[in-house]
Symmetry: C2
Subunit: 465 residues, 2 copies
């Protein structure tokens, strides 16, 4: 049987099987840019999706990016800038005259325009806004007045709203005839004259209803709404929880001001997960792979400095046992195992705790139970490794007592690590600090100090040194 070729998709054109950009495309574009061949360049990238174009730009060097934007001129789609790292975005924008940027941004959806403008410094932003048409300027300024990372910054201010007394026929005619409608939409909002939300109608419902039926008869009154000032992370949790495609955004007076769609929320979820992963690894959330060496080094220095301070605390503990370490060098050799095993167990607990706090799976209702579970888990694994490491150490140094000492220290440190791993994130969350960012150094300090102190104290007492 002949197997028909699957319908070609746009993705197939620019990407290989792994979803990476094809290198021959990148090379063709680079060579068109190098030879200043605007016609060939437009031919190559004319139909490209903004996301593909963004990935392409990310792979060019700074000079080629500048030239590419220049060669494309008015054909350069500013939506591409929402798809690249902030470093690249700012680099490109700084090179362009404010008029060009104002024109390019005016063509975008409000949420894309905001996401580009919010990264610029105050002065550049004002200059660009001044060059924009008044309607867009006012709308963008209002959006930028909402707090960073709020629903108001992410929403589109373009939506379809109809009065409750219209019929389905009137709504359909309005959709057919109006020419200032948003590009794509999945629902129609129903509002009163004061812009207060009365309900919404999904497009499939509208399509399946006869023309004479009134809007009130088919609208769903219960609409998921978010306040414009609400944090994007909370909004994302709501979208996930209720599998929403969109939500209405209202101002503090309950008036409909915009709509949030799930494709924006997908970005939020990705960003927030990214921020948590980086925070746990000691990297600033804003670090990007296109950052310069200097920016990267500076950003990471702070975390390493804090860790150094906690390491000094552990060192002070070790130093106070100098006599014992001198008397019995085996203690110096084995002490790091106790600390590191405790640190790893504590990191496991901390990871689970930080994650569960972020998804609201851990809260006052189950904190006690989870603390108990973690302590017990620490006790079980502490005992297991006490036996394994105790036996190994006893034989290795031909000294059974050493096995007993390291075993006892191991149990203590794994229980301490488990408690630190859960209590520190819980405490930080209670203080409204981000547990993902700050837990690490505290937790490691506990396991280093308890590891060294416990091991050497027990050893001092056991061997009477």
């Amino acid at each position: 049987m002949a197997v028909p070729t699957p319908h070609p998709t746009m993705t197939d054109d620019w990407r290989d099987d792994d979803g990476a950009l094809r290198s021959d495309i990148v090379e063709a574009v680079t060579s068109a840019v190098a030879s200043n061949d605007a016609a060939r360049l437009k031919d190559l990238v004319g139909e490209a999706h903004e996301a593909d174009m963004g990935d392409l730009i990310a792979q060019l060097d700074t000079e080629d990016r500048r030239k590419l934007v220049e060669l494309l001129g008015a054909d350069f789609d500013f939506a591409v800038l929402t798809e690249v790292d902030e470093t690249i975005r700012v680099e490109i924008l700084e090179d362009l005259p404010a008029e060009t940027v104002a024109e390019g941004i005016a063509e975008l959806d409000s949420d894309d325009a905001v996401s580009i403008l919010q990264d610029l410094d105050e002065e550049d932003r004002s200059e660009i806004l001044e060059k924009m048409p008044a309607v867009e300027r006012v709308a963008l300024k209002r959006a930028l007045d909402y707090p960073e990372d709020s629903a108001g910054r992410r929403m589109k201010d373009d939506f379809i709203a109809v009065p409750p007394f219209w019929t389905v026929g009137q709504v359909i005619d309005h959709l057919r005839e109006a020419d200032d409608l948003p590009d794509d939409f999945t629902e129609v909002f129903v509002i009163d004259p004061g812009y207060h939300l009365q309900g919404h109608i999904r497009l499939d419902r509208l399509l399946r209803t006869k023309r004479p039926v009134t809007v009130t008869e088919i609208m769903e009154e219960e609409v998921r709404t978010v306040e414009a000032t609400e944090d994007q992370q909370d909004v994302a949790l709501m979208f996930e929880r209720y599998n929403l495609l969109s939500a209405a955004v209202v101002d503090e007076a309950g008036r409909l001001v915009g709509v949030l769609t799930v494709d924006d929320i997908v970005d939020v979820i990705e960003e927030e997960a990214d921020a948590d992963i980086k925070a746990l690894g000691g990297v600033k959330p804003e670090e990007e792979i296109s950052d310069s060496v200097w920016t990267t080094a500076k950003g990471r220095f702070r975390w390493l400095f804090i860790n150094m301070l906690t390491a000094f605390i552990a060192t002070t503990v070790l130093k106070s046992f100098e006599k014992q370490l001198e008397t019995m060098v085996a203690l110096a050799v084995l002490a790091p195992i106790v600390a590191s095993q405790g640190g790893n167990a504590a990191t496991q607990t901390m990871t689970v705790a930080v994650r569960a706090l972020a998804t609201h799976d851990l809260g006052p209702h189950n904190a006690l139970r989870v603390i108990g579970r973690e302590a017990l888990t620490g006790l079980i694994n502490g005992t297991a490794f006490a036996l394994i490491i105790g036996v190994v150490a006893g034989f290795w140094f031909s000294l059974a007592g050493l096995g007993v000492v390291i075993g006892l220290a191991m149990v203590c440190n794994l229980v301490a690590g488990a408690l630190a791993g859960i209590l520190i994130p819980l405490g930080l969350a209670k203080l409204n600090a981000d547990p993902a960012v700050s837990s690490g150094p505290f937790v490691t300090t506990v396991t280093d100090v308890v590891g060294f102190l416990g091991f050497l104290t027990i050893a001092t007492w056991w061997f009477k040194i």
Copy 2:
């Protein structure tokens, strides 16, 4: 001015300002369950969204969960089971007769049914499938034949497809009259008699077009398609990249078999990020906060065991310098700082590398540049901490030479750590192993060994001990 109350949303009813379930709701339900009051229970939870109901069930104890499901009887919505942890899901399902489960699952969308069935063991699954109507059984069996975590397992097999020669009027009449349509949909697919995809039409487009226009005139020919066997993570990347609301799923012969919607993909993104965070923290992705102590301890043991082995390697290095440690106990006190500072720097690099590999921001096109950047970053921060820690150590132990030695060791270890942090994830990815899962122990081994070995070798040479 009187501020109108915002339109009440369903969320407001059950959740507090933080989005957590209200405790009085949980208490009311618990008491209704305790008093076997089915009527009151149905009254309380009758209108609840499956996600709220899932969170509620998670907060009850095992016995109350069982009773709640029993009291609700046929009113229990099996979609709730897609919203709880696997542990809870399996616990509830095991308690119910296969007939009840078969009936409950038959009412769900195919993707929800698959996600519930796939966690059960072979035997229970077959028993339930046998009790289902033939049509559903065949469809579910086919979906379960697709690989785990593939698009085919996530898709809905319910979609709207029309032939290309229909007019818009015919499509709308079909939508109005057919009664076996999916619950909600955002687009209509256009297929030939062999089920090969010709294009698609978004509902807004359909609504805005006059009845006599034919489907071919308004359909978009370019549809993002995925193969049913494709991995969900790749599919999620595609959704994110192109801001898709849905994608067509085709079989290996290019026939339309289902549709993937963005709300399913939101779950995939969340799960994959969750898996990466947990993997980096040494926790199995399937660990859940509702797991028993024993399951948790067992799951975490393996990672701790591997870390213990790497710690033993580092200990062997330390042990081989026993003579030097005895002669100069300051070396024993300071060695852990060198190792830990290198480990932390390496973790930073590794975190960024793992994340960039997952999002395809790191690949062959920029690997060399990123390796260079990381090595340089290691060199800069290595030098910075060499100076700081060198000076502190020199004064602390009143021995300038010690400062020089630890400084040199610090530079070596931070550069080694940076290289390990980038090369190990890259290497693992090349070998098709998940870098998030396996990088940690390798990276720590490098920084521990280079830290101890470097520091003690330099010390041996400098102090001639």
